[in-house]
Amino acid sequence: MKTFIIVYGATVLLLMGIAEYRGWSLMSYEEQRGVPKTLRENPGSYRSSYARTLHK
């Protein structure tokens, strides 16, 4: 029981520490790569993945 408490407790603390340090979040988002630098000049050229799924 003692070993279990130590291992379980240490795991919980480790996960909590990593989650807080790395700023984990449960928020839903999508990561995309290769966005062109010209986007700043023409913001409309980029379509957010959320734009057409909600409030279309």
Binding site: I6, L13, S25
Partner: protein
């Protein structure tokens, strides 16, 4: 104060002194090892119990048992128990009937010419080393106090002798009954046995079967232990305090880690601006100025607030985009509705929102915002923070750690529940958890009630 009857006199070598005679019932040879202290002997062959105090060896009674029980520790076996050498001279089976069901156990009479008699009892693979005591315990509630320990009442019943083999220091009778009451303070058990003639108290201590098998060099297989014995020491006794302390340290460690990370987090405002949405801008996206996100990979929190919304909504399609071409897309809605229904006012929604993007590496970023709204015009305010401390994971960790005390309580309760399930007090576990053993708190004395 230690029980004087339990204080061991200096050990003396015991050499077997055996007298042989013949059963007056069947002529079978009988062995008497308890010398002049033996009053009766049971013949293994015919079940006759012979009165040794009678010069004609009259038969006291005869067992009509169809089942011949074989003692796990054979008669005549000699072994050292609690430092003294004993010989097994008698074996009997007792039974109680509870709610129509018979429960049987075995008792072994041990003899040492200098120490006298001791008993070993066995029930469901659990063993006790027992000796009678002349001291009468004091009553305390429905339990008793003995050797500075409180013994809780476990059960009271009437037992009867169902089988006998070997010799005994009283004139044992077939079907002989006695009322007994057991009190427990694990690993000790106090038993009060009452017959019409006398009342005897005995104290027993739970003993591991391995100890007996090794002491008596028993070759037969050890019976498996079933359930929990009344006075079996809980595997958690003496350890719960340290486990509770350990769990407490884990809670403190969680708080410490959280506070350290909390105070060392940047919680830095990296961007802030106000915007206005108008219906004519519908479908148009805007980009913010570039802002610097520094430090290790951590969260980025985007806080949005709107000027009061009136039964309308604002949806922001947003993307946090780095200069090197990575985009984190998300959408957030802010809405506020209110009204009156059946004479009472109601409202739902809010004027602000908070979005947290996890593990964003450092770099230069900007926001692309594409607003939509049902209102003709909405003013909104965007603020971006870097490395914002969160309490949520701390509380999640506390929740996860709370499983440990629950688990500990459950396991202790399960063990005690099994113990008390066969008592006169089933279902009263929390009121009847026996005293912690003295080992529970370091530095305290060891139990005084060792049976020697």
């Amino acid at each position: 104060m230690a029980d004087p009857s339990l204080t061991a006199p200096p050990p003396a070598p015991a050499s077997p002194q055996v007298k042989t005679l013949r059963c007056s019932g069947c002529g079978n040879p009988l062995t008497v090892r308890g010398m002049e202290r033996t009053e009766s002997v049971a013949c293994e062959a015919c079940g006759s119990i012979i009165d040794l105090t009678d010069e004609n060896l009259r038969i006291l009674s005869t067992f009509q048992s169809k089942i011949k029980h074989k003692p796990l520790i054979p008669l005549g076996s000699r072994g050292k128990v609690r430092g003294d050498l004993f010989e097994v001279i008698g074996y009997l089976r007792r039974a109680v009937t509870v709610e129509g069901e018979d429960f049987e156990w075995s008792e072994y009479l041990l003899f040492n010419p200098y120490k006298g008699f001791r008993w070993l009892s066995e029930y469901n693979g659990h063993w006790n080393f027992i000796k009678t005591t002349p001291n009468i315990p004091k009553r305390k509630g429905d339990g008793v106090k003995y050797l500075d320990k409180t013994f809780l009442h476990f059960q009271s019943a009437e037992s009867r002798v169902t089988y006998v083999m070997g010799e005994f220091y009283w004139k044992v009778q077939a079907g002989e009954t006695c009322k007994f009451t057991d009190y427990i303070a694990p690993p000790l058990i106090l038993s009060k046995e009452q017959t019409a003639q006398e009342t005897d108290w005995s104290i027993g201590e739970y003993i591991e079967p391995e100890t007996l098998w090794s002491a008596f060099r028993v070759t037969s297989p050890m019976p498996a232990r079933i359930g929990v014995a009344p006075n079996q020491l809980s595997p958690y006794a003496g350890r719960t305090a340290s486990l509770w302390k350990l769990i407490g340290y884990l809670f403190l460690a969680a708080l410490f880690i959280h506070l350290v990370l909390f105070f060392f987090s940047q919680n830095k405002l990296v961007f802030e601006n106000r915007f206005t949405f108008q219906q004519k801008d519908k479908g148009k996206a805007i980009v913010t100025d570039i802002f610097e996100v520094s430090g290790n990979a951590s969260n980025v929190v985007i806080k949005s607030a709107v000027a009061p919304l009136d039964n309308s909504w604002l949806f922001l399609n947003m993307a946090l985009i780095s200069e090197d071409g990575r985009a984190y897309d998300f959408g957030r809605e802010i809405s506020y509705y209110h009204g009156t229904e059946d004479g009472s006012a109601w409202a739902e929604g809010s004027f602000s929102d908070e979005a947290t993007l996890p593990s964003i590496p450092s770099g230069r970023y900007y926001l692309r915002i594409e607003p939509e709204s049902s209102a003709p015009m909405v003013n909104y305010h965007i603020r971006v923070y870097r490395d914002v401390p969160r309490w949520s994971f701390f509380f999640l960790a506390l929740g996860a750690l709370c499983i440990l005390p629950i688990l500990l309580i459950w396991r202790v309760a399960r063990f005690e529940g099994k113990r008390w399930s066969e008592s006169d007090h089933p279902g009263t576990v929390w009121m009847r958890i026996p005293d912690s053993t003295p080992e529970e708190e370091e530095g305290k004395e060891k139990p005084k009630g060792k049976v020697s």
